[in-house]
């Protein structure tokens, strides 16, 4: 493209497009600073709902559970998903390879309600009490395939002679993976982890099937609180979550740009 030129058409479509995407969130953020208890009436600027939020133990507990679930489930999913991707890409042809790779991706298209129900029945069958552990297991299950997809696409373009060279220079197969393959595919593995973490943070349906009375995640808490009526406290909480996600995305894109500049490509 040569010089970008200003035109009314471009300006209008840009405005409408972004308004469509961000106006609802903007309103939410604005009302989180509302003095009034009524959500739809503006009564001046205040940060008192943030203060109230920090004293609300129920919300803080839910946030703690969500964070724990997110970190643990995405970490386990990254390890399992990377292993699955590695095996699928490297093991060459074997009987039922297509079936296996299909089965890794199937949960991507499975309705969440079905996954959630299946997990609930499974946990009941093995007699596992519902709580943080069951949510972690459930989130690992569905986010693992996302990690696998991301890592697979990186491994397909990976020059296998790099691994051969590592073996040739005295590495055991595991050492070759740890000291050559993993550092090179690290950006994809980190992307996979972030994706899994985001999905876990997001999830309402599967968590509502697998959470117990002792542990509730933030989305469930917000959802059940909203049914009682929207409070400015929820707005404040949502604003904080938007802030955290935005910071994460910006940090990641800056970091990956830096990696790209350092590495350019691995011919």
């Amino acid at each position: 493209m040569n010089q970008s030129r200003f035109s009314w058409f471009n300006a209008t479509s840009l405005t409408f497009g972004f308004a469509f995407l961000y106006l609802p969130m903007l309103i939410l953020v604005i009302y989180s600073f509302n003095e009034s208890r009524l959500v739809t009436v503006w009564a001046g600027f205040s940060t008192k709902w943030y203060g109230k939020l920090l004293q609300n133990d129920a919300f803080l507990d839910a946030a703690w559970v969500t964070l724990n679930v997110g970190i643990w489930s995405s970490t386990i999913a990254t390890v399992l998903g990377t292993m699955a991707a590695y095996v699928m890409v490297r093991s060459g042809r074997f009987l039922g390879r297509e079936l296996f790779s299909g089965m890794i991706y199937a949960p991507l298209v499975m309705p969440e309600v079905i996954t959630g129900l299946a997990l609930l029945l499974f946990f009941l069958a093995i007699g596992l009490d519902r709580g943080m552990v069951t949510i972690i297991l459930a989130h690992t299950t569905f986010s693992m395939c996302y990690v696998s997809v991301v890592v697979t696409s990186r491994l397909i373009t990976f020059d296998q002679s790099l691994e051969d060279a590592a073996l040739d220079l005295g590495c055991t197969p595991f050492d070759a993976f740890r000291s050559v393959t993993l550092p090179i595919i690290a950006p994809a593995v980190i992307s996979g982890w972030l994706l899994a973490f985001t999905l876990s943070l997001d999830d309402l349906v599967i968590a509502s099937f697998t959470s117990g009375p002792s542990s509730t995640t933030l989305p469930i808490k917000v959802y059940s609180a909203v049914r009682m009526g929207v409070s400015p406290e929820i707005n404040a909480l949502s604003t904080l979550m938007i802030g955290v996600v935005t910071a994460g995305v910006v940090a990641f894109s800056l970091a990956s740009r830096k990696i790209m500049i350092n590495r350019k490509s691995d011919f």
Binding site: L162, G170, I184
Partner: protein
């Protein structure tokens, strides 16, 4: 030539007491229904620069991967220094490989790439920096030690790959099309560098290439391969001057083939009756040729002399008409037609800078060669 004088001739393959460092014994490698290597036996001697030459798909790369340990033979033994290495994994073999793509680790700098293998060896940690320095000096990479692979040129990457594979001082170094990615001029320079480094380190080199000129330049012996078999193993000059088959003669360099029937004379000379009403060709053969057998006479274009006057006292003299002239600077190749209509090529060196253009299109000329200029092949 100079090389041979300085070293008294290096020909361990002619010495029956010399033990080969590598022996392939009846090795077969199959991939499913496809046979990549078929019942192949081969001896390679210590300090040799051995070239595996052939078109793509002839099995040369498979042979190399068998040596490196990335593939296991379906049948047969591979012996390295008296030990059967078939069941030794690649990381336990005293064999290193330089990959066609170089396979430099992109996340490590030049120094760490070279040190990679040493850090995984039994070498004393304190000795590693000295060894890496030595390799950097050998390959003239000292100023680039801290650079990453993407920050250096193709020729420099090639040298890093060489330094890395030589660092562990392997018994055998495998080079898979090592110069394929370089441009022609750099490739020629690097060929001599490779020979120099091979001589300095005294390592046995096995190189895989499809470039016959490269094989002829660097190798002490060349194995010409076709469809999983070795067709001929010999020194470059023997491969060129006494090919054992049409395949080898045709694969290496330019050649004229004339088919005919043999007629044995007394003094080991053979007449090739090649066309009705044409004077037979007089030649010799290393093989035993039966009287009246179907044979092929092969002669290189540069062994043929062109002249306007009919030459005397030379075994073979034929008439030809010039169809085309390819001027290549140092030499000219003449495409000719024999009286039978067969095409024929002859070459002449352009020794004078400004030469009167003696031969031109459609000229009738005499072609002549001695009775030992060509070879007679029994096919």
């Amino acid at each position: 030539m100079i090389k041979q004088q300085a070293h008294t001739i290096f020909e361990p393959w002619l010495n029956p007491t010399e033990k080969p460092i590598i022996q392939f014994k009846n090795v077969t490698k199959r991939f499913g229904d496809y046979t990549a290597i078929e019942n192949l036996s081969l001896d390679i001697y210590s300090k040799e620069f051995f070239a595996l030459l052939g078109p793509s798909g002839c099995g040369k790369t498979t042979l190399m991967r068998l040596l490196a340990g990335f593939e296991a033979p379906s049948e047969g033994k591979i012996i390295l220094d008296n030990i059967d290495i078939v069941n030794v994994p690649p990381n336990m073999r005293e064999v290193n490989m330089m990959f066609q793509s170089y396979a430099l680790f992109p996340h490590l700098n030049v120094y760490d790439n070279i040190a990679f293998g040493l850090r995984r060896s039994t070498m004393n940690k304190a000795d590693i920096p000295d060894r890496v320095e030595e390799m950097l000096r050998l390959t003239q990479l000292v100023p680039l030690a801290k650079r990453k692979p993407h920050q250096i040129s193709g020729g420099q990457r090639q040298r890093v790959a060489l330094a890395r594979s030589l660092a562990k001082a392997p018994k055998l170094l495998l080079l898979d099309e090592p110069l394929g990615a370089l441009d022609k001029k750099l490739r020629h320079e690097t060929q001599f560098e490779l020979m120099d480094i091979q001589e300095k380190t005294g390592t046995t080199f096995v190189i895989v290439t499809h470039d016959q000129e490269e094989a002829m330049t660097v190798a002490s012996r060349v194995a010409v391969m076709d469809e999983g078999k070795i067709v001929q193993v010999a020194t470059p000059d023997r491969i060129y001057e006494t090919p054992n088959s049409i395949y080898v003669a045709d694969f290496i360099g330019d050649v004229n083939f004339i088919k005919g029937k043999s007629q044995i004379l007394e003094d080991n000379k053979i007449l090739v009756n090649w066309a009705e009403g044409q004077q037979p060709i007089i030649g010799t053969s290393e093989d035993r040729i039966d009287n009246g057998a179907d044979i092929t006479f092969a002669i290189r274009p540069e062994k043929v002399t062109i002249s306007f006057e009919e030459p005397l006292d030379i075994a073979n003299v034929f008439k030809g008409k010039i169809l085309d002239i390819a001027y290549l600077g140092n030499i000219s190749t003449y495409h000719l037609e024999l009286p039978t209509g067969q095409n024929f090529k002859a070459q002449a060196t352009n020794t004078h800078r400004i030469e009167r253009r003696t031969y031109t299109w459609n000229d009738e000329v005499w072609l002549s060669w001695t009775d030992t200029a060509g070879v007679i092949l029994s096919e």
